[in-house]
């Protein structure tokens, strides 16, 4: 068996947390249950991975089968990668019946004809997600299995989630293959990036909580409402203001949990406005400035700003339009009119 395959499996197993190794190997299904019983999963991970490699050698594993284990690992831990969202444009025809086999064939054919040395794996999941793993090589070298690109595609949607390896040069080819395989016209990168794949899906598939005015009575949960009858001597001075803030916040963010984003970036190309007597900037040039908001959970922290008293409600539309516009990377230019506000470029 190829030494590189053995090494690849060994390293992949080492990545997996010890408690998960057995279940992941079971999901992989390459080793039989009997073989798995022979492994002692309580010893040091180094030894566990060696045993796994031995058993794989007995079953003569090849690189494509080893790659499946990598997909399984990344499917369970997608948040270790940075994902970007791409949108495809349709030709405007009636929706065809999506044929998975035809998609896979066209995709493989495109890549293999352009670049001989690639390893391509597909895996379908229950939620209609198709995971594609591509390991890139060159006409002269074998594919580098340690820096694969991952693509997640839900059929009949125009969105693709791509986590690329370092080789950005392969990106156009990957995009082309996707467009051809899914019968779309072209593809463009959206300004939306995050480690949380599910949150990106929530945003573009509109699965996040939005507020809609309806007549249907929905249960309203008053979280921090203290009972009025606690002590009649205590009066909440700004009760109406607090209620207004709660109402406005709910109208903007809805009731449920927000998708998880790590940052929002605003590139300002606006003019610096200062007192003319100060003469800070002689030249009438845009003041180049980059504002970045970072947080483990940006949208939840934005939601709690106004109720915590740290910002006015309603928040600036530049912050609240993130999920609506499905982007967290903005360029703000000067608006060519009398309004002093910046203009968000599309």
């Amino acid at each position: 068996m190829d030494e590189t395959v053995a090494e690849y499996i060994r390293r992949t197993v080492l990545k997996i947390p010890r408690g998960e190794i057995k279940s992941m190997l079971q999901k992989w299904g390459f080793l039989s249950e009997a073989q798995l019983q022979t492994i002692n999963f309580h010893q040091m991970k180094d030894n566990v991975s060696q045993e796994v490699v031995h058993l794989c050698e007995e079953n003569s594993v090849d690189i494509k089968q080893a790659a499946v284990l990598d997909i399984i690992y990344n499917h369970i831990y997608p948040n270790k990668r940075m994902w970007s969202v791409y949108q495809m444009q349709k030709t405007g025809e009636e929706p065809e019946i999506f044929d998975l086999q035809s998609f896979k064939k066209k995709f493989k054919r495109r890549l293999l004809s352009a670049l001989g040395n690639v390893t391509i794996n597909f895996r379908e999941y229950e939620d209609n997600a198709i995971w594609i793993r591509v390991a890139w090589g060159t006409p002269y070298t074998k594919p580098n299995q340690y820096k694969p690109s991952y693509v997640v595609y839900h059929s009949q949607t125009p969105y693709v989630f791509i986590s690329t390896s370092v080789f950005k040069s392969n990106l156009p080819l990957l995009c082309q293959a996707l467009v051809v395989a899914s019968s779309y016209r072209d593809i463009r990168e959206m300004e939306l990036r995050s480690h949380s794949l599910n949150s990106l899906k929530d945003i573009v598939f509109k699965r996040y909580s939005q507020y809609f005015q309806t007549h249907c009575p929905r249960p309203i949960q008053d979280r921090s409402e203290e009972p009025e009858s606690a002590d009649l001597r205590i009066i909440r001075e700004n009760k109406s203001e607090k209620e207004r803030i709660q109402r406005v916040t709910r109208e903007i963010f809805g009731d449920g949990p927000q998708p998880q984003l790590e940052f929002a970036q605003y590139k300002l190309e606006t003019m610096f406005k200062s007192d003319p007597t100060m003469e800070v900037l002689d030249k009438k040039e845009p003041f180049r400035c980059l504002v970045k908001f970072s947080s483990p959970h940006l949208l939840e922290s934005l939601r709690s700003l106004a109720p915590a008293g740290m910002a006015d409600a309603p928040l600036s539309p530049l912050l609240t339009c993130i999920t609506e516009k499905a982007r967290n990377n903005f360029k703000i230019k000067e608006k060519k009119s009398s309004f002093p506000e910046g203009f968000v470029s599309p």
Partner: protein
């Protein structure tokens, strides 16, 4: 040393915080239940007052009716509000309802399949200067752009009705597929392959016949997105099987064309029980 001590304190604080949260939640629940009790008591009192009034009128007491027997203006208002809410609830249950907003209308479309209520979807429309969609919660694979291009500007009723058909059909197809997976997984071989719109289903299933089980392969295509029954069904035997099974395959094909998927499987298992 110090660190372990700090860690211990942190853990204690965490634990205390968690317990307090639990307590708070229970108190909230209690408060809302108490409110409900109050509401119901008020309703009961009003109804009692009305009944009394009726009795008094019937027994011919034409005397001065005291204020206590007549429902107060506040109670009447409450009753009116409740009956309007009831009306709105009824409209909501019919499937399409709307509410005027500051800048337009917000529609909610509810889906159901044969008596089971499934999800609701919302559309926030702006009406000035032209009718357009501001926000929505529709799944991305529903061809909203297409439908709105055709009908939104010209015939909003048609737009809503077409959209509702799409959503209800999708919800119906998904429901059938989910039911099949949930209740008949023992008859399915392998996994049920579907796509986002649930308009292409591919699965293998087995039918016990004379003690042996014969695997069938089914491919259901729903070309009409407004319909929850397939337009094309291909059922074939995966192995070379006797003539009788070819007939069964054809029969199944017809059955799937006209009956909901999970109901079709129901008839299989009941037919099998009859044979046994």
């Amino acid at each position: 040393g110090v660190f372990t001590h700090l860690e211990k304190l942190e853990a204690q604080a965490h634990e205390a915080g968690r317990r307090q949260e639990e307590r708070q939640q229970q108190e909230e629940k209690l408060a809302s239940l108490k409110e409900r009790v109050e509401e119901l008591r008020m309703q009961r009192d009003e109804l009692r007052a009305k009944v009394d009034l009726q009795h008094k009128k019937q027994s011919g007491k034409e005397g001065i009716v005291s204020d206590a027997a007549e429902p107060s203006a506040g109670a009447v208002l409450e009753w009116k509000i409740r009956s309007i809410k009831g009306m709105l609830q009824i409209f909501y249950l019919t499937g399409i309802s709307g509410k005027l907003t500051k800048r337009g209308v917000c529609f909610s479309i509810s889906t159901a399949y044969e008596g089971t209520y499934l999800g609701s979807y919302y559309l926030d429309l702006l009406t000035k200067p032209a009718v357009r969609i501001h926000r929505h919660s529709l799944p991305i694979f529903i061809p909203l752009e297409q439908i709105s291009r055709r009908y939104l500007q010209t015939d909003i009723r048609r737009f809503l009705s077409v959209l509702s058909d799409h959503l209800n059909a999708y919800a119906g197809r998904k429901y059938q597929a989910d039911q099949l997976q949930e209740h008949f997984s023992d008859q399915l071989e392998g996994s049920l392959q579907r796509n986002s719109l649930c308009n292409l289903l591919v699965f293998n299933y087995k039918m016990p016949s004379e003690g042996k089980t014969f695997p069938f392969s089914a491919r259901l295509i729903y070309r009409d997105l407004c319909c929850s029954l397939p337009t094309e069904v291909i059922v074939s035997c995966t192995v070379k099987a006797p003539e009788s099974l070819e007939e069964t395959a054809a029969a199944h094909s017809e059955l799937f064309r006209h009956t909901a998927l999970h109901k079709a499987f129901c008839t299989f298992s009941s037919a099998e029980k009859k044979v046994d």
